[in-house]
């Protein structure tokens, strides 16, 4: 008997799951119908991933009931099953962080755990057959991959296709995707939607974890919203609006970034349409452009080349300058040299050639602390690894990088506890860091409040230039609003800001000029007025190169 669409494929009821003191799920429920694309939305930390990991067998819930339909559409209780059982029952999950063995080929990765072997006592691997099967599956689904390519050679988009294929190869009829678009360019996202619609047409069920509302609106049939570990709403996509979903996510009204984009003044328009190669704008050129109302650049990067472990030119002759009171947004798919660019300017990474000028002072080879003293602030992309010492208290984290200013002089260099506490009280109040106990370790705070510590430290002092790398990644909507307001405020106060973000909406909402980084280069630099998702998309994939 073929099960009818619209019958439940998954039903999770009142799921509770704690990790130590963290109650990730406390009464979460989810019902997904067969053959639909179901969006599971919520802020970071709302418990979406935890709930789905329970469904895929990675965690056993502390309590609650899990039911999954078999091929005939009959629900069976599966509470606390194993990943092996989940796979056998056709439930597959594609994780946010890829779980592939990079030294193996695509085909080898797919058959890992269920290796195909030739007959005979030695059980020799049958890679040829595996490759044929992968090719066939690839054809059928439209997920294009080269079965014999090593995973290490794949782009992130391709690696994600492999992840999806892996789930399907194992017979998944229900596919769970955890934030699949975080690493994709707009055309790759469009392609993914295409594949998902195909799967839906074949009667397969898809759960899409996301916190991006435009994705919810464009692809899903039904939305389940989670907040603080609980399910707060289940809506039909066609009957709802982004503001309504946002309200359910946050628990109050929010201003969405897309609605306030336009207030970014096009201040730098005339002056700043610089393309790769010609944007080495020495001071005299800037004046000759007739933009005397604009001060000289606060940050200037000239033909900068930076290497990383894999490529000698991860940043490949990039030049740009940023004026006081300007935000230059760098868009692009992650891994195209943005991290290396920021690290080189911040001083963690050796520059191969080129120079970096802060207020016309060459800082190319100065130490991190000297750059800080010269007026450079930096919100790093990875607050857990770089931006915070997680076991340090809020107060201690609020002086990281400024510790020399809080030391009494003399041989012992004793830290001045009173001034540190004072500073903490002031910053906690000014940036609304919660909870407000400065002695708590940063580890105990939510992502948004952790990021506020970083923002408070970097923006709560005197600076000229700010490097803001992924400033709102993994941060709840309320904190995003706050951080965006801080960035705009700093811009209006005459600071120069280099904003790097994987979130194109964020770039468009904040920037005065937008650059796209691809393959280590700035392939295009546009004034905000000329930039839009459709204009920038082709540049982000390298489909279009600046002349």
């Amino acid at each position: 008997m073929m099960p009818t669409p619209g019958a439940p494929a998954i039903r999770l009821t009142d799921i509770h799951k704690s990790f130590g003191p963290v109650r990730a799920n406390r009464g979460a429920s989810l019902e997904v119908m067969r053959g639909e694309i179901h969006a599971l939305v919520g802020e970071n930390g709302a418990g979406k991933s935890t709930l789905m990991r329970a469904l895929s067998g990675m965690y056993a819930p502390d309590s609650g009931r899990m039911e999954v339909a078999d091929a005939d559409g009959i629900l069976h209780e599966v509470t606390g099953w194993s990943t092996a059982e989940a796979i056998a029952a056709g439930v597959g999950m594609v994780h946010q962080h890829f779980m592939l063995v990079s030294t193996l080929t695509v085909a080898e990765n797919l058959m890992l755990g269920a290796e195909l072997t030739k007959d005979g006592a030695l059980r020799v691997l049958d890679t040829a057959r595996a490759a044929r099967e992968v090719d066939a599956l690839s054809q059928r689904t439209g997920l294009r991959v080269n079965a014999l390519q090593r995973v290490s050679e794949l782009s992130v988009g391709e690696a994600q296709r492999v992840e999806i294929l892996k789930a399907l190869y194992r017979g998944a009829r229900t596919l769970i995707l955890d934030e699949p678009t975080a690493v994709l360019s707009p055309p790759e996202v469009a392609e993914l939607w295409q594949v998902l619609r195909h799967m839906r047409a074949r009667g397969e069920t898809i759960v899409l974890i996301t916190h991006k509302l435009d994705e919810v609106m464009s692809i899903s049939d039904t939305v389940t919203v989670m907040r603080h570990g609980r399910t707060t709403a289940r809506l039909r996509t066609a009957d709802t609006t982004p503001p309504e979903i946002a309200r359910e996510m946050v628990g109050r009204d929010v201003v969405l970034a897309t609605e306030m984009r336009q207030d970014a003044a096009m201040a730098g328009e005339g002056w700043a349409v610089a393309r790769d190669g010609e944007s080495v704008a020495p001071a005299s050129d800037a004046r000759s452009l007739g933009t005397s109302s604009f001060p000289l650049p606060a940050l200037e990067v000239r033909v900068l080349a930076v290497g990383n472990a894999r490529r000698t030119r991860a940043v490949d002759d990039v030049s740009f300058s940023i004026s006081p009171g300007e935000i230059l947004g760098v868009a692009g798919v992650e891994g195209n040299g943005q991290t290396e660019l920021i690290e080189a300017i911040a001083g963690f990474r050796q520059v191969r050639s080129g120079s970096i000028l802060l207020d016309h002072r060459d800082i190319t080879h100065t130490a991190v602390r000297a750059r800080g003293q010269a007026g450079l602030s930096h919100i790093p992309e990875d607050r857990h690894a770089r931006g915070l010492v997680l076991d340090y208290s809020i107060a201690e984290n609020l002086i990281l990088g400024q510790q020399h200013r809080f030391a009494r002089g003399g041989f012992l260099n004793t830290l001045d506890g009173d001034r540190i506490a004072d500073n903490a009280r002031r910053q906690i109040a000014a940036f609304d860091i919660r909870p407000n106990d400065p002695t708590l370790p940063a580890r105990a705070l939510s992502g948004g409040n952790q990021q506020k510590i970083v923002v408070a430290r970097e923006m709560g002092r005197d600076f000229r230039v700010l490097l803001a790398a992924q400033p709102t990644r993994g941060v709840d909507v309320g904190a995003i609003e706050f951080i965006h307001a801080q960035l705009r405020g700093a811009r209006d106060a005459g600071k120069a800001i280099l904003l790097v973000s994987a979130d194109l909406a964020e770039i468009l909402a904040l920037s005065d000029r937008v650059a796209v980084m691809y393959g280590g280069r700035f392939v295009v630099v546009l004034p905000r007025a000329q930039a839009s998702e459709s204009v920038l998309g082709p540049y982000m994939t390298g489909a279009e190169e600046a002349a």
């Binding site: 003191p21 963290v22 990730a24 970071n44 930390g45 418990g47 963690f348 991190v368 602390r369």
Partner: protein
């Protein structure tokens, strides 16, 4: 993914009920309780062993306590042994705070003792100890500091892992000291140098007759000072702030304007210097000469001291007392149980700590959540 907002809220509730001191108390509980649980486990295992040997645990432990804390000679010996162990344990704990595992305290200790002895042999005889002590301290710190600092430089400059280099330096340095002693300094037919005639340190028995016969000496006070100094440095100075940041998250420290390589070198040099100071205990406080092999494993037992002491200077001193007690107590109970009993007991303490630190912390946190 994790509902960390929830943690924050709970933390805020906690902080309202127990303002400020809350965080301190939590840290204290988490750092002390695991060691206490480990001791309890070790005691139970010890009981079983004693019963297997056909003895009564009560009798053995009574004898052990009487032979150590029960009389002033035994107590003096405990303090003497604890002095060296405090230095090596503190040295290792200090390095661990910078994220470095110093396995080389054994040779750093020996190098410190050797440097002090060499200086002592060169000094004119008869100088008062109070005048020569600073010279000896500098020599011992320098001797150990050079050995430790070498491992630090190798890591900072070439990325060589400190576990490998400190282990290898043990062989190199001990062989070198052995050669120097044998070739130039030793009294024929022995493994030790001639006697140092200047600045021998007074023993406690010079002030308190009841300590008579035990080797505990004023270096013990140096050990206490070293612990206090290391504590102040680590938790109250800018350099300590930077050192701990490097130990916890080197990338975040780098972001904070700290050069990890510099901190590694400095931390290893200081760690080596602290271990080197331990050499004074034997060389100046006890025998008044350098003798090959005087370290006798104290540099390795220091690893256990540092771990049981929760890599805290104060903890290192307490753990040193514990291990010194077990070690001295082994002599006292030798009549009832074989001497390996004590070695097994020390090993059980170490294993129990290794197991109980993460386990007990997890239980404490779970408990707190329910509360």
């Amino acid at each position: 993914m994790s509902s960390s907002g929830e943690v924050a809220r709970e933390a805020s509730i906690r902080s309202q009920t127990a303002p400020r001191s809350g965080a301190v108390w939590i840290r204290l509980e988490e750092s002390l309780l695991p060691s206490l649980v480990a001791l309890l486990v070790a005691a139970i295992v010890g009981d079983i062993l004693i019963v297997v040997f056909g003895q009564s645990p009560g009798a053995v432990y009574r004898l052990l306590l009487e032979g150590t804390w029960g009389n002033s000679y035994g107590f003096g010996q405990v303090l003497y042994k604890a002095t060296t162990l405090t230095f090596t344990g503190l040295a290792i704990a200090f390095a661990l705070r910078a994220g470095l595992f110093n396995i080389g305290a054994e040779s750093q200790l020996a190098a410190g003792g050797f440097a002090a002895a060499t200086v002592g042999l060169a000094l004119p005889p008869g100088l008062p100890w109070i005048a020569t002590l600073p010279v000896y301290v500098a020599a011992a710190a320098l001797g150990g500091g050079i050995v430790g600092g070498t491992a630090g430089v190798l890591k900072a400059r070439f990325g060589a892992h400190e576990v490998i280099t400190t282990i290898m330096l043990n062989f190199v340095v001990l062989a070198l000291l052995s050669y120097l002693t044998a070739a130039h300094l030793n009294v024929p037919e022995t493994l030790h140098t001639t006697e140092i005639r200047s600045g021998a340190l007074p023993r406690f028995s010079d002030f308190f007759a009841s300590f008579h016969g035990s080797a505990v000496n004023v270096v013990l006070l140096l050990a206490v000072l070293a612990c206090a100094g290391a504590w102040w440095y680590l938790f109250h100075t800018r350099r300590g702030f930077e050192l701990r940041a490097v130990g916890l998250q080197p990338e975040a420290a780098e972001y904070g304007g700290v050069r990890p390589g510099v901190v590694w070198t400095r931390a290893m040099a200081i760690s080596g210097a602290i271990a080197g100071l331990g050499g004074l205990n034997f060389v100046l406080g006890y025998k008044h000469y350098y003798e090959e092999g005087f370290a006798g494993g104290a540099g390795f037992l220091g690893i256990a001291v540092a771990l049981v002491g929760g890599t805290h200077p104060l903890g290192a001193a307490l753990a040193a007392l514990l291990f010194a007690t077990i070690s001295q107590g082994g002599l006292a109970v030798n009549a009832l149980v074989p001497k390996q009993f004590v070695e097994v007991l020390q090993a059980v303490v170490i294993i129990a700590v290794a197991v109980s630190v993460p386990e007990v912390r997890r239980m404490i946190r779970a408990q707190r959540k329910r509360a």
